[in-house]
């Protein structure tokens, strides 16, 4: 049987859609883990990046965080957190280290993009807002953050896509998710399972990317839409 036919058969086999090893469970696992990790990273990273950008401090830290983060292979972060947390005898073998690793990977692009976005706000605009009598808080929420929003959201997109990709790799270090199909497929030399898993993961990543791009288009103020993202905004792959 040819590979495409095998893949179609894999997708139409009902047992691949049932139980803890089925597609729905693995997909939910993957999506929940990714969402939780991105949310945690947003809670940690956005206030930090926005605050540093607002105060104009810690630029070297905010920028280099992404450069250093890029140098650390995601597989290494996953494996090292697995070792560090696993050794302390935490329960939830697999899931907890994977969560910690994903948060650690998602924070740098959020901080860097928020910082760069806040610093990119035209000083004349800030001066004008102050001249109109805006307080620090008003300036922050009604001028700086809205203008920085395209880059803040670009950071969210980068971080989310990276988290979805890296959650796939977490199957190598004992966690579940859609990566299981690919890793188990490699182990069992089952090409149909590998390709099916790869299609599911690729689809989830593209949906994440396109979905967040659509959100970005809707949320960003009309006057800012024409601007292109700067060349050096944070790009990352897993």
């Amino acid at each position: 049987m040819s590979l495409p036919a095998e893949v179609i058969e894999w997708f139409t086999t009902s047992e691949h859609w049932r139980g803890d090893f089925g597609v729905p469970h693995r997909l939910t696992e993957h999506a929940l883990m990714s969402t939780a990790a991105v949310l945690a990273a947003v809670i940690i990273g956005l206030p930090l990046g926005i605050w540093l950008g607002h105060r104009g401090r810690g630029g070297a830290l905010a920028i280099n965080l992404t450069n250093v983060g890029r140098a650390v292979p995601s597989l290494a972060i996953l494996a090292l957190t697995q070792q560090a947390i696993g050794l302390r005898g935490w329960p939830g073998f697999g899931a907890r280290p994977a969560f910690v690793a994903l948060v650690a990977l998602a924070v740098p692009p959020l901080v860097t993009n928020a910082y760069v976005g806040m610093r990119g706000v035209d000083r004349d605009v800030v001066e004008a807002a102050r001249g109109m009598g805006m307080t620090g808080g008003e300036l922050l929420w009604r001028v700086e953050v809205p203008i920085a929003l395209p880059l803040i959201l670009a950071g969210l997109r980068t971080a989310s896509v990276q988290v979805v990709a890296t959650a796939t790799l977490a199957a190598v270090t004992a966690w579940g998710g859609l990566g299981r199909f690919i890793v188990d497929g490699f182990g069992q030399q089952d090409d149909a399972q590998i390709v099916a898993g790869a299609l599911l993961v690729g689809l989830l990543a593209l949906v994440t990317e396109l979905g967040l791009a659509a959100v970005q288009r809707r949320v960003v103020s009309e006057g800012l839409r024409a601007q292109h993202a700067p060349v050096d905004d944070a790009l990352a792959a897993a």
């Binding site: 590979l3 920028i63 450069n67 250093v68 890029r70 140098a71 650390v72 292979p73 995601s74 597989l75 290494a76 494996a79 090292l80 697995q82 070792q83 896509v161 979805v164 990709a165 890296t166 796939t168 790799l169 199957a171 190598v172 270090t173 990566g179 690919i182 890793v183 497929g185 490699f186 090409d191 590998i194 390709v195 898993g197 790869a198 299609l199 993961v201 690729g202 990543a205 593209l206 990317e209 060349v231 050096d232 790009l235 990352a236 792959a237 897993a238």
Partner: protein, 212 residues
């Protein structure tokens, strides 16, 4: 850490580092060869820009494990599979920076060069590319560092350089090779980053004051 393991495997670590560097250099080199025509096409025909950036962007979005998974049935657990994936991930970064670098050349400069009698090819090679160099090298820097990290993933298809140690560490639950593989890979990435930053300063001394 078992230092005796590190001592015993000195030669293996060197060989893996070499393989890691080779896989990376080959991927970035092929990526550059493909990106230049793509970048120039995107710039020459603005209608092509959307599809070119869209395609390379979609490629970039697909998780590495999934991309290798899609390639393995066709090209096997081979170096070819690893390189196709690695090259694919460099394209978006390189094309985007080539386009942005060329776009960043001031119109005044272009007009002055045309007024001096530069033809399109001479203008590109002797005026635009040198001025775009810092942005293009910044792209090469990001692509190189990203590729060094991704090579560890190709260890899963038996082509991983230092990634092989990380995977050995995971499979045997043995921390020493895991730390060795991770630390060497991070060190390679940082060395590449610093070297390319230095290269930018040498090749484009006028950027010394305001780009990193």
């Amino acid at each position: 850490m078992r230092w005796d393991w590190v001592r015993d495997h000195g030669d293996d670590i060197l060989a893996a580092t070499r393989q890691h560097v080779e896989l990376t250099l080959l991927a970035v080199a092929i990526g550059l060869v493909l990106s230049f025509p793509l970048g120039l096409a995107a710039r020459r025909w603005r209608r092509a820009e959307g599809p070119i950036l869209g395609f390379t962007g979609a490629l970039f979005t697909i998780p590495s494990l999934a991309l290798f998974g899609l390639l393995v049935p066709f090209t096997g657990l081979s170096r070819t599979t690893a390189e196709i994936g690695l090259v694919g991930y460099t394209l978006l970064i390189l094309v985007r920076n080539i386009v942005a670098g060329l776009d960043g050349v001031p119109d005044d400069v272009r007009e002055a060069a045309q007024g001096m009698g530069y033809r399109p090819l001479g203008l590109l090679l002797r005026v635009e590319l040198p001025l775009a160099l810092p942005v293009i090298v910044a792209g090469i820097r990001i692509a190189t560092v990203t590729t060094i990290g991704l090579v560890t993933v190709t260890g899963l298809i038996g082509q991983g350089g230092l990634g092989a140690f990380i995977i050995e560490g995971i499979n045997r639950d043995f921390r020493t090779p895991l730390v060795v593989g991770s630390v060497c890979s991070i060190a390679l990435a940082l060395i590449a980053d610093v070297t390319l930053a230095g290269a930018t300063r040498l090749l484009a001394p006028w950027t010394r004051d305001h780009t990193s």
